[in-house]
Subunit: 250 residues, 2 copies
């Protein structure tokens, strides 16, 4: 459980190309590239450099801070938490990564990962060697464009939570954001699981765990949502969106 999963390559899923393609047809990264103007043969080039990693189980690390940077990865299933730990041992959660989202982009500047990435539940990944995908991106404008966009999006996303918002605004933005991202991947936007612990949410939103509890409770009392342990249902999306608006900048 303290080992790192990235170096390991689950080679049997690479047994034959047909298998790879079948697997990868569900990989959102490839699909997004397609929509960015890549043709079928280009997609083949992309697929041959994919390594399928997983399943990883809750608590297993994808990579750790300081590991040599070689690859980015697209989440295919599950949730990955990225975080850093400061010298006094406090954990700072950088983000939660759902299926279809890419991790490791913040490592490109530098030869080592600047943060940890850990599976919160059972996680499947597509791993892309960064040197190789760089070379490929030079040949495939659609891929280059896609990478540029992904990184640009992360820059914007990172500044979102930097604002000085109230606990209510932060929590609403977190829930609405989660809902939207899940919806984009075909999951229900109104009923979903919080795959992360309260303390993780708190660390991510820069709040105390107690505050997370209280805000969720108040939201429930006010009829905005229904929460039971990690099961969540959004009841008044309008009002939550209104709260989240200034954070998400609609």
């Amino acid at each position: 459980m303290s080992g790192t999963a990235f170096p390991r390559l689950d080679s049997k899923v690479l047994a034959d190309d047909g298998d790879v393609l079948r697997f990868c047809s569900t990989c959102a990264f490839s699909q997004a590239c397609l929509s960015e103007g890549m043709d079928k043969s280009a997609l083949m080039d992309l697929h041959v450099l994919v390594e399928h990693v997983g399943p990883l189980h809750a608590g297993e690390h994808v990579f750790r801070e300081g590991d040599p940077f070689e690859a980015i990865a697209a989440v295919r299933a599950g949730t990955v938490k990225t975080y850093v730990v400061d010298r006094d041992g406090h954990e700072q959660v950088l983000g939660f990564h759902l299926p279809g989202e890419v991790i490791g982009l913040n490592a490109i500047d530098g030869d080592r990962y600047p943060c940890n990435a850990v599976a919160l539940d059972t996680v499947m990944l597509c791993r892309f060697s960064f040197p190789k995908i760089s070379v490929l991106a030079a040949r495939l404008p659609g891929l280059q464009q896609h990478l540029f966009r992904l990184m640009s999006r992360d820059i914007g996303r990172a500044s979102l939570l930097a604002g000085d918002y109230s606990a209510d605004q932060r929590m609403a933005a977190f829930l609405i954001g989660l809902s939207q991202r899940l919806a984009a991947r075909g999951f229900s936007p109104d009923r979903f699981q919080l795959t992360m612990a309260r303390t993780d949410i708190a660390n991510y939103l820069r709040l105390a765990p107690e505050t997370v509890s209280r805000v969720l409770k108040r939201f429930q009392d006010d009829g905005l949502l229904q929460v039971d342990r990690r099961e969540l249902e959004l009841l008044d999306r309008k009002q939550l969106e209104a709260l989240a608006a200034s954070v998400l900048r609609h």
Copy 2:
């Protein structure tokens, strides 16, 4: 003063190639590309698509939120502030951009600029058409790599201030960061001008302007620095760095 400077092209500086090169030899963007493994002829390709913009004067905008995105720009001289304004009119400062730094990277995902960029003093820019530089990046691995690194760096930088740090830590990190970036561009790391207003610093650090005043005063009383209006001298770098350490993650 309410117009946008980006569309305008100061064509006379493009009169002949020699002139462009002379101008651009001071452009940090090109220099960084060189160090990223680009050869001389590749640099020429880069230079022919540069447009030199400026001088812009304090208060003039480089671009505004919602403007169609066409180009990124490297600051050659002066300071550029990027910011957004939320619906209730509160300004949120995203960053200050010194000579050698690139603005507009967060616009790549989307066809419009997601923020405003304004000159804080007299500013000179190198403007790079993004479609053109993308095409060029596909031919020049060094350039592609450089763009990837720039964006990756911004992702990391953006999450820096997202942590919940004390006012002292934020201010120290701001000053040390500024000092380091100025030093990297050949300016004095110990004596420099705060080109931005106190309220800008406050908005950037998510503090009240009053807090910025008080912290600066206390730092001065404690002998950490000397500040007079916008003139600043760092006196005890060690201690400031110690304060800033957890923010800057050394």
